[in-house]
């Protein structure tokens, strides 16, 4: 049973009076809590997300949004054919996304498979760009527990600053919340480094497989009470991946969690965000739903690969006043 599970959350429970250790102590109390969360009005959520997507962000506001979005990108390569060379190229791009423009900011992180973490760490050096690694038998999450933990420990030992873990959707959908909870707790424990610090843990909910918005809300709360530092929509391998309404529901969850506990959890949509237009819609949603504190690369990230190129093209367009083309960004 989870002993060290809820130490962080309980410590700052504060005004709400809820004790997470009570909630998470047993399968039945966890179920009672998660199913006691208010249901999501699906039609309302879709309409609100669509309304937030209609904002017009132009000129200086757009320029700021572009730079912020670039700073929030987790530049990702998760292919079976990834090579050390490709990771080094990606690292170079993360540090200087637009080599022709020194004012262009660096991305937040590079996201790779665990075995390529040493390559990324070496390539990024002390540039300030983090190395994120997917772990726990990504993307399906179907492996024995000790395999997942070993995967995580190896990535952390190799120098990953952030771990993206996948939850066991099968267990979640079967209603075995305790199992999912304990798994997150155990992985969080595995993220701890010998010096006492800990790698940031991003919990991938795989919202594309959770079927309903109610499940998204429940999975968000489950991940937060178990100690995740970030909640992430999806590995980006399944379609539909991140959608605006789902991200909005997760942002509501982190907002409410903060109100209840005082703790701030980050959100990372990933997969399917390819255009600047989409990225700006997400930023508007972050600002309006969660609040201005979340307009920060420490608390909101985009898991993306092709998005960065579109952001750069738009940035070049704003700087030069003419349309740019794919010949002027790297092809990766």
């Amino acid at each position: 049973m989870p002993s060290s599970a809820t130490d962080t959350a309980v410590g700052s429970t504060g005004s709400s009076g809820t004790s997470w250790s009570d909630v998470t102590s047993s399968e039945s109390s966890l179920r009672r809590f998660l199913h006691g969360l208010p249901g999501v009005d699906q039609v309302g959520a879709n309409a609100r997300a669509a309304a937030l997507g209609t904002r017009s962000i132009k000129t200086t506001a757009k320029a700021q949004a572009l730079d912020l979005a670039i700073r929030m990108v987790d530049l990702t390569t998760l292919e079976g054919q990834d090579t050390p060379g490709k990771v080094r190229a990606l690292a170079a791009k993360a540090m200087r996304p637009d080599p022709t423009d020194p004012t262009c900011p660096a991305t937040a992180a590079v996201c790779v498979y665990p075995d390529l973490v040493p390559v990324a760490v070496e390539a990024l050096g002390d540039s300030g760009v983090h190395v994120a690694a997917v772990a726990t038998a990504f993307p399906a999450g179907r492996a024995a527990m000790d395999v997942k933990l070993a995967d995580t420990r190896a990535a952390v030992a190799a120098g990953a600053a952030e771990i993206d873990m996948v939850i066991d959707r099968g267990a979640f959908l079967a209603g075995r919340y305790q199992l999912v909870h304990d798994e997150i707790v155990a992985v969080k424990e595995a993220c701890r480094r010998p010096d006492g610090t800990s790698a940031h843990l991003k919990v991938i909910l795989e919202t594309g497989e959770l079927a309903t918005y109610d499940n998204v809300r429940r999975a968000s709360w489950l991940a937060m009470t178990a100690g995740g530092d970030f909640i992430k929509t999806s590995p980006g391998k399944v379609s539909p991946a991140a959608t605006l309404p789902v991200t909005m529901i997760m942002l509501e969850a982190v907002r409410d969690y903060r109100a209840a506990t005082g703790e701030i959890i980050g959100v990372k949509p990933a997969g399917g965000i390819r255009t600047t237009k989409d990225a700006i819609k997400y930023l508007v949603t972050v600002q309006e739903v969660a609040g201005p504190e979340w307009m920060d690369p420490d608390l909101f990230r985009f898991g993306a690969s092709s998005l960065l190129n579109d952001l750069l093209l738009q940035r070049q367009k704003m700087a030069t006043g003419r349309y740019s083309g794919p010949d002027y960004v790297t092809n990766d």
Binding site: G321, R322, Y323, S324, G325, P326, D327, Y328
Partner: protein, 296 residues
């Protein structure tokens, strides 16, 4: 009982689809006598941007078709225009104020022009390509290859024959294009787009925008993903001779940024009924030379 009119909505042709302008704007199109005919979509710079993206996407497929196949497709376009002959005659008559007989002659010339270029697709290489004599044990071969995405500012006066005469040579050699039609006479261009959509031209190879070449020209000329531009449509813009020359110069300067090939605006709109020369095609090809060892 009087039947309700079923009026046609004249739209743009981008990526094989017929969207309205992203901006939602339209403008009034008048016939040669100044009477209202229809509203046409007024393409914005964002429509031009989308059209360039569509043209770029279509370039790989179109340029790798065999020259023979491109000829077949162009011939098919000629068939489609011939098939819609009465419609084109009416459109040209209305736009250019010609008699039915002369408009018929223009449509015939248009069909013939398409057939002419259809025949050239697989012959141009023989004519402008070459086996170069070099002083070494090499085959030295030069072949024309398509330039890429070509922006075409179509002639302002000749709404169909002039349009086809600038458009067909561009796609015959394997380029894809973004065409800005005549501003005052856009309707034959829209009808041509419908013929293109029903022939075997893949979506995105020809993108037709109705609107102002003076407005869209600078965006296309400066666009870094456009490889060449035909400034033929600048002639006679805004009426005043001086201003159109000035615009042509501005567009040439903008086009220099990424070294676009530029087909300069002539002093006056040419007589389109005259047989075209090969330069209509060779202006938008790149000559590639390969050295291959021989002997051994």
């Amino acid at each position: 009982m009087a039947r309700l009119d079923v009026r046609k909505t004249y739209k743009l042709y981008v990526g094989g689809a017929f969207p309205r302008s992203e901006s939602g704007y339209t403008y009034e199109v008048l016939d040669a006598k100044g009477r209202f005919v229809a509203n046409a979509s007024l393409a914005s710079r964002k429509d031009a941007r989308d059209a360039v993206v569509a043209a770029r996407k279509a370039f790989g497929g179109w340029s790798s078709r065999t020259a023979y196949n491109r000829g077949q497709v162009l011939y098919r376009v000629a068939e489609m225009v011939e098939d819609r002959r009465p419609q084109f005659v009416a459109a040209v008559q209305q736009a250019e104020g010609l008699t039915a007989a002369r408009a018929g002659g223009v449509v015939d010339a248009t069909v013939d022009r398409l057939v002419w270029y259809a025949g050239w697709t697989d012959k141009l290489t023989q004519v402008v390509g070459n086996a170069n004599p070099v002083s070494g044990p090499f085959f030295n071969l030069t072949t024309p290859e398509p330039t890429g995405v070509v922006a075409v500012l179509a002639p302002q006066a000749s709404s169909l024959l002039g349009l086809v005469s600038t458009l067909a040579p561009v796609i015959a050699t394997g380029n894809t294009c973004v065409v800005v039609s005549s501003y005052a006479r856009p309707l034959p261009a829209v009808t041509l787009a419908e013929a293109l959509a029903t022939s075997d031209v893949p979506g995105g190879v020809v993108n037709l925008l109705t609107g102002s070449a003076a407005t869209l020209g600078p965006w296309l000329a400066a666009h870094m993903d456009v490889n060449a531009i035909d400034l033929g449509g600048v002639v006679g813009l805004d009426g005043a001779e001086g201003s159109s020359q000035q615009l042509a110069t501005e567009l040439e300067v903008a086009a220099a940024d990424n070294l676009k090939r530029v087909r300069r605006a002539p002093a006056a709109e040419p007589d389109w009924t005259a047989g075209p020369g090969l330069d209509t095609m060779t202006d938008f090809v790149e000559l590639k030379t390969v050295w291959h060892p021989m002997g051994v």
